[in-house]
Subunit: 223 residues, 2 copies
DNA sequence: CGCTCCCTCGCATCTTTATGCGATTTTAAC
DNA sequence: GTTAAAATCGCATAAAGATGCGAGGGAGCG
């Protein structure tokens, strides 16, 4: 099974890349394998946006730097129309901001353009199988995101258990009277607790307290 | 240069793993290369916490499942004492919650125990070079974090640019009058915008709006 | 025992928000 | 060239929130 002809079960791949040379190279590379098949390719986001969906690719290789509409925005719009399609971003270097914007736009993988062909093929398979291929360098950028809150806010730790409990309810948008109903205490008691919370967090409004709370702890997880 | 003897410039690796068999296997494997060198190994977190720092490892392979203090907590405490050391978590399968807890505790890599030896060695080098090796499956878990609102909050997208702008200010805890000063518009205009925001988000208080906003979009990035 | 902290409750007052019902202008879309 | 949406402003009223002052009961500590 080394025939370069398109296998029926090969992964349908689309390419969006403005450099003619690189684009042709990718097409050629994909054509030489049986696991992938280039079904279409575009030199800019505009043409990809209008014509790419017709080809029903399963995986899209997307250059992040495109003239006009850039790769991130292109992914955002395409992902909206084709939620099941997997996008791999290609970039010349790991631009931190764009990594996140791409991931948030719906991309699943993030590779450097100088990735060798075999690794790129692996990545296409991985992303097609539900993984998120990315270079360790780029992964580190992502990982650092989860580490940037070293000591979950010193002020927050000064709150008493009851105060933390109420702060959580505040952050969920409950009215004072709803907190009253929820905790079975009087309105004035709620006021007193919140007053203390404000003192300890050095704020003067509930939204500021909530902002400080949500901004300085693991709003990510349950515990 | 195939001598199993410790090279001077080899990466100093520590191992924390409660399964004697696996631990011995890792030590043996690392001993057979010139790029790494096992400098110590422990069967539980407690002994690692007290003795590991003395050996000054550069990379630590940490089993996530340990009796008593678990691997995540162990990393948290060790990372506190040795910020420059890189930790790679080892797990039998990709447990979603623990992935994040590990990353937040300070781990940089996350691999499955069944990772083949060459790949594990690569990972040690990568983490030592500032990367974050992880399997594509685990990377996907991390990536999904940035996408966890598949259609990034339908309601939020209905907001006009100005409304989004004001919502951001609201979420930072600014008073109406502060928003007035910030945007150079009248108090009543701010009211009108916020009224529309409430309508579109189906809420009736600023905190509820902020909660909805922070809970369903990119609180991560600038724009 | 006195001290401190937490949780509870009350009253009074002032500020901030929420919302109903308007309006005009500009710009983009059909 | 009408329609629609966005951004701007105004007035009025009612609800919610912020804050000052005070106070009693219980848990824990030196």
């Amino acid at each position: 099974m080394n025939a370069p002809t398109a296998a029926v079960n090969s992964i349908r791949v689309a390419i969006v890349e403005d450099d003619d040379c690189i684009r042709a190279g990718l097409v050629r590379m994909l054509s030489r394998t049986s696991i992938c098949r280039p079904v279409c390719n575009f030199a800019n986001a505009e043409s990809a946006l209008s014509a790419l969906p017709e080809y029903k690719p399963e995986v899209v290789l997307m250059d992040i730097n495109l003239p006009g509409i850039d790769g991130v925005e292109c992914v955002r719009r395409l992902k909206d129309k084709m939620p099941g399609v997997q996008f791999i971003m290609l970039t010349v270097y790991g631009d931190s901001d764009r990594v996140f914007h791409s991931l948030m736009a719906g991309a699943s993988g993030y590779l450097l353009k100088r990735t060798p062909s075999p690794a790129l093929l692996d990545a296409i398979c991985e992303v097609h199988a539900g993984g998120s291929p990315m270079t360790p360098q780029i992964a580190r950028r992502v990982v650092q995101f989860f580490q940037k809150v070293p000591d979950r806010s010193p002020q927050l730790e000064k709150l008493s258990p009851r105060e933390k409990e109420i702060l959580v309810l505040l952050s969920e948008g409950l009215l004072y009277k709803e907190i009253v109903a929820h905790l079975g205490i009087s309105l004035d008691t709620v006021r007193t607790h919140i007053r203390k919370i404000y003192e300890k967090l050095h704020v003067h409004s509930r939204t500021a307290a909530v902002a400080k709370y949500l901004d300085s702890s693991d709003r990510f997880l349950s515990g």
